[in-house]
Structures are given as structure tokens and as C-alpha cells.
Amino acid sequence: MSAGPVPKPIPETKEFWEGTLRGELRIPRCSACDRLFFYPRAYCPFCSSDAIVWETASGDATLTSYVINHRPFPDFESSEPQIIALVTLAEGVRMMTNLRGVEPNPEALSLGMPLTVRFEPRGDQALPMFVPKEVK
């Protein structure tokens, strides 16, 4: 269990957060225009269709950008530097996450490095965190 803000799902994001609790990374796809999108919405942001279906992502991703926050908010009950990362899933959508299993040091982080998802309990939810793929 990690301390910090807990997301509160709404109907259109319920499947995403139920998925993380099951250990699955669920991503919405528009069945009208066949495009994946993120964050989950009730209508497709590309074609406005409400015919949204859900797919389970592989969990593989690459590191796209990051900052190392040396002054985390008190919510996290820790002064350990946080790697706040933007990762791109193998399926193509981008999301924010934290990196685990790697030193918060720019020498240990290279853009494009392969990552894989690892779910971490937070309050009554589970958050998708990412670790370097080789240390899975």
C-alpha cells in the first residue's frame, strides 16, 4: 500500500479502475472508428461515437519523458524523490505514472527504455506503476 491521493472513479472510468484491481490494464477503444484513446470517456474523442469497447493492454511500455521530484507533497508521507513519468504503451496511448525498481537518478533513466506495468494498492484502488522490463 502506498500513501497518496486516491482516484475516485466515475461511470466512464469504472472499467479502467476495476481492471487495475484485477491486475489488468484496460484501455478503451472506439468500435466505430477503431481507435484507442486515453483517458477513458463516454464518447470517442475522434468521432463522437458512444460505442466504446475495452481491451486489455499488454502492460509493455517505453519511457517517453519524466521529472524527478525532490519535493513530493505531504500526501505521500515520504521525502523519497519521485520519478513522475510519461510512458507510451505498446498499444500507442500515453499515460502518467511513477517508475518503481529504478534509482531516481537521471543516469539510470533513458528515454525509450522498456518498461512493464506493476499494480500497486492505494486506498480502495490499485494504481498502474511501471518497472524496467528486465527486473520484472
Binding site: 519523458s65 521529472v67 502518467m96 528515454l111
Partner: protein, 386 residues
């Protein structure tokens, strides 16, 4: 009769910041608005009785209008963060051009540091940010607005040193300015040697946090002619506005902000100008990576050339495109929604009234950003109507 909102038909005839900016623990957010409003109206030779249009962000427009004793017949509460005031100028120009308002007052006041009379900061755990960013620590701009930077720098062949060049350049403008918050001379190497606060950003690459305000008064250029103004009017030549994702992780492109490209293109086209026609710029710099994005996304330099532009001194005093001539948000002041201060400095420069005055200016470009990489507002201002 309809006329263009651009091309010099609308004028800024009053502009002022609060008496003081910086640390003001005894002044409420309301008084900051009122102090700036009264000063800007006096600058235009007007009073609140002349105002029929009013715009602000926070507290909401009707609340601030009532505090000032104004009963507006035109109101704009557009709130897209720190560039809202660029949008207010654009909206006010449209209102005046179409006859929906005749004298528009735009105010900013923010007790960003002392937080006197400010609403509490409330989080919504069901918002896109509350679900998909805040749980990961992106709870303040230094931990969210900053996140695209490593991708941006790598894609442009830039490094942290280029961000430090922005900081050092702007500090040079701030040193002679007694209203500036950070005035200590600093070198690029000193900036880079400091410990990172949010790597790759050090403290000096992140804006100051202050209290302050500013206000603007707009009328038609025709009316401005009859006003017997103490200072010359500043004309709106062109403008643009654009928005994108409310959360930074969902920017269309991390390496170039689409809203900067779209709003600046509209501003240049409506002004009938190109970057070559611009003598001075104010680039909203809450963080040191923003002027680099703006130089490239607005078309002042080519892809990857922004760092060299700063390093070669083109934006320093005496350079060919002076940028952020107060020291900007990084050194001068930053109350939270800084955009008003960027417009104020462009107006001062075009009036020949700045603390560190750039000689022989005709045009200034004001580029704002709002709610991280969510919104953009662009203005082309000139001291010549046509």
C-alpha cells in the same frame, strides 16, 4: 456598424500594475484587483462610472465587479489559467468592435504567496487530473507542467544548459528593476550547479511566487483619439486563442504545443505580420522550458534553434529580439496567473515607459500559456494603429 477587432481599431488606453508586487501579507486578493483597477482607470483618465464591460478570472467576474461598484452590461469570466487575460483582451476587442461594450476593464489580482482572501485549493479526485495524474505526484506545476521536458529537450537536441541560458538572460533584465523579486546576478554554471528541485529543473528555472495584480482598460481607437490621454494608446493588431488537453500527459505532442502553434498563427495572420515584424516579446515563463517551446512553436526560430538563440545573446539587452524584459515570471513576479504582467510590460515598452526600456519599438508579441500545457493566448500589440 461592424468593424474589425484587429488592425488597430481597438486600443489599450489604461494599464497599471498594483502599487507593489512581491510579498504583500496585508493585502487581500480583492484589494489587489481594486488597486490595479483604480490605477489603470486613472491612467486612462476614467473612473468606474465609465466602465460598461468587465472581465476577470478569480474571484469570479461579478464578485470583483461588485467589489469595485461596477454594474457591467458585458461580462467575461473566461478562466483558462494564466493566459486568460490574453483571451479577455481578445474578447473585449470583439465586444467593442461589435458595439457590445464601449469601455472594458480587465483586472488581475492574486495573493499567490500570502494567500490573503484566496479560495482554498480543492482537489477533485474524479477529474481527469484527479484520476490520472495527481495520484502519481503531479500535484503542483513544478511536478506536472515540467513532465514533457526531457522528451522536448531530446527531440530538439537541447539540454538543461539551454534552460539555464533562459534563466541567466532574464536575470540580466531583472537586475536593474527594483520591483523584480530575484535580482542577484547569476551565471549559467551557477544555475546548473544548484541541486535539482524537480530534475531537470533547479529552483531558478522555476518561477517566483508572489502577490500582485494588474489591470487594463480598452476602448475603440476612435474613442481613444478624443480622450486626451497622458500616455499613447497601444493598439491590438492581431490575436489568437487555443486550447488542448486539461492534463499535461495527454498533450497531442510533447515536443511542440499545438495550442501555441494555432493561437500564434491566428495572431500573426490577423495582424498581417510575421515574426520578422516583431521587435519585442513577452513569453509567459512559469518554467524555463516555456520560452524555448515558444520561440520554436511561434516560428521565431527553426526547430532546435531556440537554445542557440538564447546562448548567442539575441534576447539579452541590446539583442535583436528582447524577451521578458522585466525578468519575467522567473525573476520579476509571478502571482499564479502571470499573463497580466506579460501584457503590462508589452504596453510599457510600447509606450516608452519601461524600467529597462528597449529603444525604437513598434511591435510586441505577447504569448501566454494556461493551466499547464492546456491553453494559449497570443496578442500582437503596436504603438502605431496602421
Amino acid at each position: 456598424m461592424l468593424k474589425s477587432m484587429h488592425g488597430g481599431n481597438i486600443a489599450i488606453v489604461g494599464a497599471a500594475e498594483t502599487d507593489e508586487v512581491g510579498v504583500l501579507p496585508n493585502t487581500s486578493v480583492y484589494e489587489l484587483h481594486a488597486n490595479a483597477a483604480v490605477r489603470a482607470l486613472a491612467d486612462a483618465g476614467l473612473t468606474v462610472a465609465d466602465v460598461d464591460g468587465f472581465a476577470t478570472t478569480m474571484p469570479n467576474a461579478l464578485e470583483v465587479a461588485h467589489y469595485l461598484g461596477i454594474r457591467p452590461s458585458w461580462l467575461d469570466g473566461t478562466m483558462v489559467g494564466g493566459c486568460s487575460y490574453m483571451l479577455h483582451v481578445r474578447h473585449a476587442a470583439a465586444a467593442i468592435a461589435t458595439g457590445a461594450a464601449s469601455v472594458v476593464l480587465i483586472t488581475h489580482g492574486e495573493s499567490g504567496r500570502s494567500r490573503v482572501g484566496m479560495p482554498p485549493m480543492v482537489r477533485n479526485p474524479s477529474s481527469p487530473a484527479g484520476q490520472f495524474e495527481q495520484p502519481f505526484g503531479a500535484l503542483a506545476p513544478y511536478a506536472s507542467f515540467t513532465t514533457p521536458v526531457m522528451s522536448f529537450l531530446e527531440s530538439r537536441g537541447l539540454t538543461r544548459r539551454d534552460m539555464a541560458e533562459v534563466v541567466a538572460t532574464q536575470r540580466e533584465w531583472a537586475i536593474p528593476n527594483e520591483r523584480a523579486f530575484r535580482r542577484k546576478p547569476i551565471t549559467v554554471d551557477e544555475i546548473l550547479a544548484d541541486k535539482p528541485l524537480s530534475y531537470p529543473f533547479t529552483k531558478d528555472m522555476i518561477c517566483v511566487v508572489t502577490d500582485g495584480g494588474g489591470a487594463l482598460v480598452l476602448v475603440s481607437a476612435e474613442r481613444a483619439k478624443d480622450m486626451n490621454l497622458a500616455k499613447p494608446p497601444v493598439y491590438l493588431m492581431g490575436s489568437g486563442e487555443a486550447t488542448e488537453s486539461p492534463i499535461v500527459s495527454q498533450m497531442d505532442d510533447l515536443n511542440s504545443f499545438g495550442a501555441f502553434r494555432r493561437s500564434s498563427k491566428d495572431a500573426f495572420e490577423s495582424a498581417g505580420m510575421t515574426p520578422d515584424d516583431i521587435d519585442h516579446a513577452m513569453f509567459y515563463d512559469a518554467f524555463a522550458h516555456l520560452p524555448l517551446y515558444m520561440l520554436e512553436d511561434l516560428g521565431f526560430v527553426g526547430r532546435g534553434e531556440s537554445g542557440a538563440f538564447y546562448a548567442e545573446g539575441h534576447s539579452r539587452p541590446g539583442g535583436r529580439l528582447p524577451i521578458n524584459t522585466t525578468g519575467g515570471g522567473l525573476s520579476y513576479t509571478h502571482s499564479g496567473m502571470y499573463g497580466m504582467f506579460a501584457i503590462q510590460e508589452s504596453v510599457r515598452q510600447l509606450r516608452g515607459d519601461a524600467v529597462v526600456q528597449v529603444p525604437n519599438l513598434k511591435t510586441s508579441f505577447v504569448q501566454g500559456v494556461g493551466m499547464m500545457f492546456a491553453a494559449s493566448g497570443s496578442l500582437v500589440l503596436s504603438n502605431q494603429a496602421g
